[in-house]
Amino acid sequence: MKRQILTFVSAFFLAFPWVETRLQGQEVSEYQVKAAYLFNFTKFVDWPQTTLTPEKKTFIIGVLGEDPFGGTLEQAVAGKVAKGLPIEIRRIDDFDPDDSAKLTDCQILFIAYSQKSRLSQILKALRKAPVLTVSEIENFSLAGGVILFDQVGKRIKLVVNPGAARRASLGISARLLQVAKLYRSE
């Protein structure tokens, strides 16, 4: 019996580094990284006082269109706070031109790829609203979105449109601007 225990214990210690290596080798999906970015934005962006009023109970991150995150966005923000408020993930299935309040309630709005054909309408509905718009649709910066997730090689980089941020009365910290590429509108 003693010998068996010894065998198991030694096997466990022998196996342990192997298991650890396997976990390290785990691939990170692009949406895990994008979810982490979304949470990080809450720290590096300032919303106007008029938005984050004391009556506000939650900080809302909206996902408009077909959600590509799976559960990774909930995992990323679980138990975390933004600007002192608990974070709420709100899913909006489709864009309704008659109900833009659904969108302007959000502090961060991720616009999914499925909304590509309606992008200019959505951004028009959000015009000047203090919402940090984020998307992976290629011509997002040109269309007037604030932050674009831009794939370069196997990495996800940020492109910030400072004009769009200004129009939305958002303050983007120098830290964020430093790591991002700035979109120059002509």
């Binding site: 010998r3 068996q4 065998t7 030694s10 096997a11 022998l14 196996a15 580094p17 192997w18 290596t21 396997r22 390290q24 080798g25 785990q26 691939e27 990170v28 999906s29 692009e30 949406y31 895990q32 990284v33 979810a35 982490a36 970015y37 949470f39 990080n40 590096f44 077909e66 590509p68 799976g70 990323a76 923000v77 975390k80 299935d93 489709d94 999914a112 790829y113 499925s114 054909s117 992008l119 200019s120 011509n139 040109l142 269309a143 007037g144 794939q151 370069v152 090689g153 196997k154 990495r155 996800i156 980089k157 940020l158 830290r175 964020l176 790591v179 590429k181 120059r184 509108s185 002509e186």
Partner: protein
């Protein structure tokens, strides 16, 4: 109990030792992998994290931007499908990686309704909705907008299109006509191969595979191998590039006789090929513009050594005897392409494309040489009008110049040919009910110097009652232009022994020729389609398409009395000339249903199923022959299963079934083909995020024929094979 004690002790001792040894080995290997430092690309000064913390949100912005991620293109694929009013199927780069196929044409078997038959190791017959033949002239294939449709023989030289799979972003396959946007020859389908932007292929990529056919008859015996190397870098803030090189060797398949191991037959049989290619691509994204420049050079040796039994593709015109066709084709291709597009704030877009493509083909046994140069310029503009119109219009001009040199048993008159096609198109997508009902109508009008002006209109209706369901219907017309071989040029083909094509055909030793038909018009299709797409749950999706195709003016080769130019300089008259001519006498109807279903019950499990049923009327049989292609098989089926038992393991299994059809060859014989299965299994281990190690067993069903022997085709038997692949990316 007592008697077992020594045994268990023995086991424990050895067991322990074995266990320890195994773990030490595994640890050593893993340690070596994990310990490999991650070199950061020269342009990137950011620290790349060695370890992935369990909570990514704790990472700095710099580190997030430095992480290598696994990219999925599923959401982009879904977006392509959602608004489509055609039977479209997208093969993504992940699908390619998990299919185990190593050559581009093989991939198309994954598409519902697309029939892929291996004729030999270097010949494929690929079609959608019927007309399956090596030179299937009713499907248009584009690589980044460049047509690879062969205007001389019709169809696609698939052996020359083995573009590196690692460079492909996605393949969009449309079954059915697309003449309104793509012009002539987009009759039964369009294959759009789209390569990756060089912005997403940064850094080093290397892959090498080696494998073997379970049977291989050649001496010396070689391995199948594939090698690919790519480097991508940054030119400036908005400009990226990549350069790549690929080399392939494929050993022969087996001869078509029952006994594939018979040495005498195996010694003759050789359909091995060897191919290499080098290419570059530059992409610029300054502001609202996207510039692309790409180019590639390719050279391949393709062997065509066949058996003499009942197949006599090579004739000696002097004494009317036939011999082994010991031919090697040397194919060379080069192209340069430039594309520019500009996006505007109002969702409108301008696009321009220009390319030049040159092809040289020489054959060793009869000194045939072909040169083809294609120059093409296109532009396209899309804009919105009055809120409910999306108008797309554009124009194109293409010039094809070709030349046939030094013929012995094939002679073209004239030797130099020219095909000019120019035209324009206009299409309007009208929003009839916001977010619910759309009508797309338009036409292309083209002029060519073979058949004159051709109209290819279409009308398409899309109904999207909600985000989960869409229904579409379409009526369209498409045309297939005559090709030069056998249809436009006067071709002398060498000698044909008496009774070659059955009793009394021809009655005496003759010369053969295709004589041109000045009255020849294009083949025409009018197609009626209906489609339904649904995502009843997040885990499932179903795509169904039904079609009814009515063809008129199908080419049929008729015996005529005529005369032909002779390479000796004179004229061969009707007395000993076996002359055939293409005539627009064929008609036919083909109809069917194609179903594709996807089920993703778990993140780690994906199941794909497709089923296709097709049928045709009797006039189709008379219109089907070796030249025009076989009618479709009644049933086709495929299933693939992708399973990740652990995060670093991928297991893949797939099976493809193609039902029986038949060929109607010039000897007036109808011969049934055999139905066949293809069965592949593979496993991939990813020791770290940069490395993939794969092992694949292909064609496990055993040696089999996928098409028939006939007067013009000498097919091989596909044989089982296996390979291992290492792929590294930094």
């Amino acid at each position: 109990m007592r008697s077992q004690k020594p045994l268990s002790k023995f086991n424990a001792g050895w067991g322990e030792l074995l266990l320890a040894l195994c773990f030490l080995i595994v640890q050593g290997v893993c340690g070596a992998w994990a310990g490999t430092p991650t070199p950061s690309p020269a342009d990137d000064t950011e620290a790349v994290p060695q370890e992935t913390p369990s909570d990514l949100t704790k990472m700095s912005l710099e580190n997030l931007g430095g992480m290598d991620v696994v990219v999925t293109s599923a959401s982009k694929k879904e977006e392509t499908l959602r608004k489509a009013t055609a039977a479209i199927f997208v093969i993504t780069s992940e699908d390619i990686q998990r299919s185990g196929f190593q050559h581009l044409p093989d991939l198309l078997i994954m598409v519902p309704g697309v029939q892929v038959c291996h004729q030999s190791a270097d010949e494929w017959a690929i079609s959608a909705r019927g007309f399956n033949a090596q030179y299937n002239n009713k499907m248009l294939v584009l690589v980044d907008g460049r047509s690879v449709y062969d205007p001389i023989y019709g169809g696609v030289n698939w052996n020359e299109q083995d573009i590196p799979l690692e460079d492909i972003d996605r393949i969009e396959v449309i079954r059915g006509p697309g003449g309104t946007l793509w012009g002539s020859n987009a009759v039964n389908g369009i294959v759009n191969i789209i390569t990756k932007d060089s912005k997403v292929t940064q850094g080093f990529h290397f892959s090498r595979s080696e494998g073997d056919n379970v049977y291989s008859g050649t001496d010396p015996h070689q391995l199948n191998s594939h090698e690919y190397i790519r480097y991508g870098g940054k030119l400036s803030d908005d400009w990226y590039y990549r350069v790549s090189f690929q080399e392939n060797h494929q050993d022969p398949f087996a001869n078509p006789k029952d006994d594939i191991y018979e040495a005498a037959l195996s010694a003759i049989w050789n359909d091995a090929w060897h191919d290499y290619r080098a290419g570059f691509r530059v992409d610029g994204h300054p502001g609202r513009d996207h510039w692309t420049f790409e180019g590639e050079g390719q050279k391949g040796d393709f062997n065509y050594a066949r058996l003499t039994t009942n197949v006599t593709p090579f004739f000696d015109p002097a004494n009317f005897t036939s011999g082994n066709d010991l031919n090697t084709n040397i194919d060379q291709n080069a192209h340069l392409l430039g594309r520019w597009s500009r996006d505007f704030e109002d969702d409108s877009q301008i696009q321009a494309l220009a390319y030049y493509d040159f092809r040289n083909l020489t054959t060793t046994n009869d000194s045939r040489a072909t040169n083809v140069g294609q120059a093409d310029v296109e532009f396209q503009h899309r804009f919105h009008l009055a809120g409910w119109n999306e108008i797309t219009w554009g124009g194109s001009f293409r010039d094809v110049a070709d030349q046939f040199l030094n013929p012995i048993n094939t002679y073209f008159d004239p030797q130099d040919q020219r095909l000019d096609i120019y035209g324009g198109f206009l299409q309007d997508r009208l929003t009839l009910v916001e977010s619910e009902l759309y009508l797309t109508a338009g036409s292309k009008v083209e002029n060519n110097n073979y058949t004159g002006v051709e109209w290819q209109p279409s009308g398409r209706l899309l109904f999207t009652p909600d985000d989960r369901n869409s229904i579409w219907a379409a009526v369209s017309r498409a045309v297939r232009l005559p090709i030069q071989v056998g249809e436009v040029a006067d071709i002398y083909l060498g000698g044909v022994p008496a009774n070659q094509y059955g009793p009394g055909i021809p009655t005496v030793n003759s010369y053969a020729a295709f004589v041109p038909n000045p009255q020849l018009a294009s083949e025409t299709l009018v197609s009626y389609e209906l489609g339904y797409r649904t995502n009843p749950t997040k885990e499932t999706s179903l795509d169904a398409a039904a079609f009814y195709n009515h063809y008129t003016g199908l080419f049929s080769f008729q015996y005529v009395t005529g005369q032909s130019a002779s390479p000796a300089g004179g004229i061969i008259d009707g007395t000993n000339l076996f002359a055939v001519q293409a005539q627009n006498t064929g008609t036919g109807d083909i109809y069917g249903v194609e179903l594709a279903g996807k089920w993703t019950p778990l993140k780690s499990l994906k199941v794909n199923l497709t089923y296709t049923y097709q049928d045709y009327d009797q006039s189709m049989i008379a219109s089907s022959n070796i030249e025009t292609g076989a009618p479709p098989p009644h049933s086709m089926f495929n299933a693939w299963l992708n399973f990740d038992p652990f995060p670093d393991w991928e297991l893949n299994g797939e099976t493809y079934f193609t039902g029986q059809t038949f060929l109607y060859d010039p000897r007036d014989k109808i011969e049934p083909t055999s139905a066949f299965w293809v069965f592949n299994l593979g496993a991939t281990w990813k020791p770290d995020t940069h490395t993939r190690l794969s092992l694949w067993a292909m064609d496990l069903e055993g040696a089999h024929m996928e098409t028939l022997e006939s007067a013009f085709i000498s097919p091989a038997q596909v044989v089982p094979s296996f390979y291992g692949q290492v792929s590294v990316e930094y």
